[in-house]
Symmetry: C2
């Protein structure tokens, strides 16, 4: 299993505080040592940094700390390889162009080959470059969207289409993902994913993985709204919300605009989620 981090806001925001806790899980406080990637939307453009070194010790991660890039949509991933060798071509997030926009995808989980469901939709528009189950799932989603729509439909249609495609991929294994086009961000939990929406009145937060505090009221305006999505909570004194199993959310401007949640909501404990991952060969020793 890998770990995911996403941020969707109504004003360009610096992710350094969250990223500092998150990156320590790549080799320092956890075992996700097979590379990392982070991508920031700036307008329609993307600033993407990937490294096959552990995020805790990567000079690329040091640059991100120093550069303090502000963005409304950020997606990050630290990797513990289960499928596909450790290489840059297999490092998340994956990026493609769809309808004249860049789309980014990061996945935490483990899927069987999607060849079976891909046979219904041959790879006309999108083909994987690397060898991961994750990039294959991303291409599957894009391929089906592009085949059905020559131009981008509205957000509600898109949400429902991606919900439908997610349901087709889900039986293939474990599928937690974040997906963004620079405007909205989608988050899907199959086993473990949490989010928090920070807005006024802002308080102080303390990182779980490092002895660092931040007073958000000192670095925000009263209108700011910031949604942060992470496999596991990053702070110890805030209330994070766990997504139910098979819940899908679409965030825009830092709030949830569409939600699909099974009627019979179920939540896995961290221990059960790890046991489930272990059972299909996607285990790590610990997720702290």
């Amino acid at each position: 299993m890998c770990q995911l981090l996403g941020m969707n806001c109504n004003t360009p925001t610096d992710i350094v505080f969250s990223f500092e806790g998150f990156r320590r899980r790549g080799g320092l406080t956890d075992v996700h040592v097979d590379g990392f990637g982070i991508a920031f939307f700036e307008g329609k453009g993307v600033r993407i940094y990937q490294d096959d070194r552990p995020s805790a010790s990567s000079p690329v991660a040091d640059l991100i700390k120093g550069y303090q890039i502000k963005s409304k949509n950020v997606i990050a991933h630290i990797r513990k390889a289960t499928f596909g060798q450790v290489s840059l071509a297999n490092t998340h997030p994956f990026m493609r162009e769809l309808w004249g926009e860049y789309w980014l995808f990061a996945h935490n989980g483990h899927l069987q080959s999607l060849d079976q469901i891909f046979s219904d939709s041959p790879q006309q528009y999108y083909r994987p470059v690397g060898t991961t189950d994750s990039e294959q799932a991303f291409c599957y989603i894009l391929e089906n969207l592009r085949q059905k729509y020559n131009h981008k439909p509205n957000d509600e249609i898109l949400f429902n289409e991606i919900k439908h495609l997610t349901e087709k991929i889900r039986p293939m294994g474990i599928l937690n993902f974040t997906l963004t086009n620079g405007d909205w961000m989608m988050a899907h939990s199959n086993t473990l994913l949490h989010y928090i929406i920070r807005q006024a009145p802002f308080g102080e937060a303390k990182l779980l993985d490092d002895d660092v505090n931040i007073d958000f009221s000192a670095v925000t305006t009263p209108n700011d709204r910031v949604a942060v999505i992470a496999t596991l909570p990053l702070t110890c004194n805030e209330q994070w919300t766990q997504l139910a199993q098979n819940e899908l959310l679409m965030f825009k401007e830092g709030e949830i605009i569409f939600r699909d949640c099974p009627d019979d909501t179920q939540f896995l404990s961290i221990e059960d989620a790890l046991a489930k991952a272990r059972a299909i060969g996607a285990s790590t020793n610990t997720v702290t």
Copy 2:
């Protein structure tokens, strides 16, 4: 006009020496101050760094100096905006996936709208994200290749197809470009482009833009072969070869494997190339 830098080698090579001279043209020894981008292939993966700050003072460029990434194919670009605002979406190199490979493109020049020639090949597979003439030209090349071939043809066919597409774009303005799929690199000169192939016996080189020397014999093996392509020579004590007007080259493993050159070879002087650029509104004050 912008400036291009490319490297194609038979062994992973560090581009820092060339990049150090090149980046100084972004704001220090020249006026190309509207951002820069550099991308390194690592296997099938790409490490891409772009910044809308001038390369001479960019922390991203500092990282590249410190990181000493080794690659067989590198493509870089510093920008003086003529078309399209200064933004990350307009920063070269541009990247797309074609036939399960990443392709990268950087352009120096200035083209009229390609809408007219695009009308023969609607944007089915590839659409620009930003607003540059350059990304439009890249999408035009990819679109036509993808429409004609469902799978990648061999290098010779590809060379001839890209030669043909280049001829169609050329009447639209000034078209100097580098293009790579991580295996080969193509270079096309319409006005100004130079290359050098370094191989044993290696000597010492001195940068034009900085007081820096390098003794290549100390950092290479006798079998290394490195082709460097640049708008203008980067060193003052080596023999660079100027591409003729409308010459197209394909480099692989550090040597030229295909060449198309008009029978009536013509070479523009730096002054004439700049005058030509100025005449269509793509002038810079100087190119030193």
